[in-house]
């Protein structure tokens, strides 16, 4: 599934009545099955951009184009599970037609099998995030949106969850939009990196990574990381000047 996004301008009016630009000339395209990762400072407008692409915010100038009827799976920054439904029922609400066997396999990959009948209030944040991931993958999305799925998790858990996401993304071949402020996550998960500026967010650079995810060596990751650091420092110098 192809995705093309052209946001000419998105502005917010704050409580004091002042208008602030959040996004300006924000254009990108993703090929079918490609994982686009957006890296930028916190508060730069990444989540706003995701909301627009997901069709939750129509108050902007521009357009986001993907095939009509595309199934969207989204993992929000917070898990957003229904507290009155068990993990299993939460997933089934979004994916009523899910195949029982596939769902069991998905829960197994995400190490959630033991928690299927728990209510979200009984889960830790890490488990709740995984439940949200399960929900997004259960609908077998054409288009997957992940908003900082690894934020505020401890390192060991984040690494495991990142591997789980990589496995799932590879097996589903869904066009994926991932937002993160962690460069390491970005390089390990993405096919194409987009480096974002401070507000109003613009795309500073687009870095395609040609090596397949599983074949990336530590040396290559370090090299890309250095490149990213050089480019983002440039932005900071430019801003400070």
């Amino acid at each position: 599934m192809q995705l093309e996004v052209n946001i000419a301008r998105k502005a917010f009016t704050n409580a004091a009545g002042e208008r602030h630009d959040v996004l300006a000339d924000f254009n990108f395209a993703l090929g079918s099955g490609e994982v686009g990762v957006f890296v930028g400072p916190s508060g730069c407008g990444k989540s706003t951009m995701l909301k627009i692409v997901a069709g939750l915010d129509h108050d902007y100038q521009g357009g986001a184009a993907y095939p009509a009827g595309a199934r969207i799976g989204m993992v929000f920054q917070e898990p957003r599970l229904l507290p009155w439904r068990s993990v299993d029922d939460n997933v089934r609400l979004a994916a009523p037609k899910v195949d029982d066997e596939k769902l069991s396999a998905l829960f197994a990959v995400l190490e959630l099998t033991a928690h299927r009948n728990h209510f979200p209030g009984e889960l830790s944040l890490g488990l709740a995030r995984r439940a949200a991931l399960a929900r997004a993958f259960a609908i077998e999305p054409d288009f997957l949106i992940l908003d900082e799925p690894l934020a505020s998790l401890d390192d060991a858990l984040a690494v495991r969850l990142r591997e789980q996401i990589a496995t799932l993304v590879d097996s589903r071949c869904a066009t994926t939009l991932l937002v993160t402020h962690d460069v390491d996550d970005a390089i390990r998960l993405g096919d194409r990196l987009f480096l974002l500026s401070h507000r109003p967010a613009r795309i500073l650079a687009e870095l395609p990574i040609r090596t397949p995810r599983s074949a990336r060596s530590e040396a290559e990751i370090a090299a890309i990381k250095a490149d990213v650091a050089r480019r983002t420092n440039g932005d900071r110098a430019e801003r400070d000047a």
Binding site: L56, R71, R80, L82, W84, L93, F119, I139, I145
Partner: protein, 245 residues
């Protein structure tokens, strides 16, 4: 056990007060019990209780359905809120008696008038409570339902309704106690049967024994309905909440 104790204390106090005040003003428990048995024997007790309960059920259902629908609308649509708000304030503060008397004047001394009057008295409380619940609905969950393309009705049932449930339960609980109070007044003023009517008759004859017989049976029925129907319902609604330690 504690309930039994508190009931015994109530009976003892009553009996003691009856001895002090004399049977004329406050008949002792056995006299009232005898009156209850006599009324039950003739079938009048069950008939009147049944009639009153039917009115309560009808008026309550009507007010809850309409009230929840209007409250949801006012919580969701600002225009509806602005239009409806003055009416709501008037209805909230209008004495029950005014509504009942006007209903009987305009619609005659009919069953429809009685039930409508009771329902109108309860309606604004349901509207206000459900509107409050609608205003604090979690938009984050709404967005989730939109992104995952959950059909409208399913989303309403599984995402919206559970959030409103505590508010609807509160409206039902406070509304029910209001209906219990008002139904008797409506019956006293314009119906030829029901607990309220019997109490009115007892008042005119100064028959305190009969008055107490009906009031206490009515109170017992209310208590049973609250414990058997309302409380289990509330527990069921909140079963997903983690148990307090």
């Amino acid at each position: 056990m504690l309930r039994l104790l508190s009931f015994t204390v109530f009976l003892a106090t009553w009996w003691g007060a009856a001895l002090l005040a004399g049977g004329e003003k406050l008949p002792p428990p056995p006299a009232v019990l005898a009156a209850i048995v006599a009324e039950a024997d003739s079938g009048a007790l069950f008939f009147n209780l049944g009639v009153t309960l039917a009115r309560v059920a009808l008026a309550f259902t009507l007010a809850m359905t309409l009230g929840a629908a209007i409250g949801y609308l006012m919580g969701r649509v600002p225009l509806a809120d602005r239009l409806g708000d003055p009416w709501l304030i008037v209805l909230l503060n209008l004495p029950a008696l005014v509504v009942i008397v006007l209903a009987y004047i305009w619609a005659g001394l009919t069953e429809v008038a009685a039930i409508a009057a009771i329902a109108i008295n309860k309606l604004p409380i349901a509207v206000v409570t459900v509107r409050e619940g609608t205003r604090v609905l979690d938009t984050a969950l709404d967005e989730m339902a939109t992104v995952f393309a959950v059909p409208r009705w399913r989303a309403f049932r599984h995402v919206i309704l559970p959030q409103l449930a505590p508010y609807i339960a509160t409206a039902a609980r406070s509304g029910l106690s209001l209906v219990w109070k008002i139904v008797l007044v409506a019956e006293l003023l314009g119906r030829p049967n029901g607990v309220g009517f019997e109490i009115g008759v007892a008042f005119q004859l100064f028959d305190i024994t009969r008055l107490l017989a009906y009031s206490l049976t009515f109170a017992a029925v209310v208590l049973v309905i609250e414990t058997v129907l309302v409380q289990p319902f509330e527990i069921r609604l909140s079963r997903w909440r983690p148990r307090a330690a």
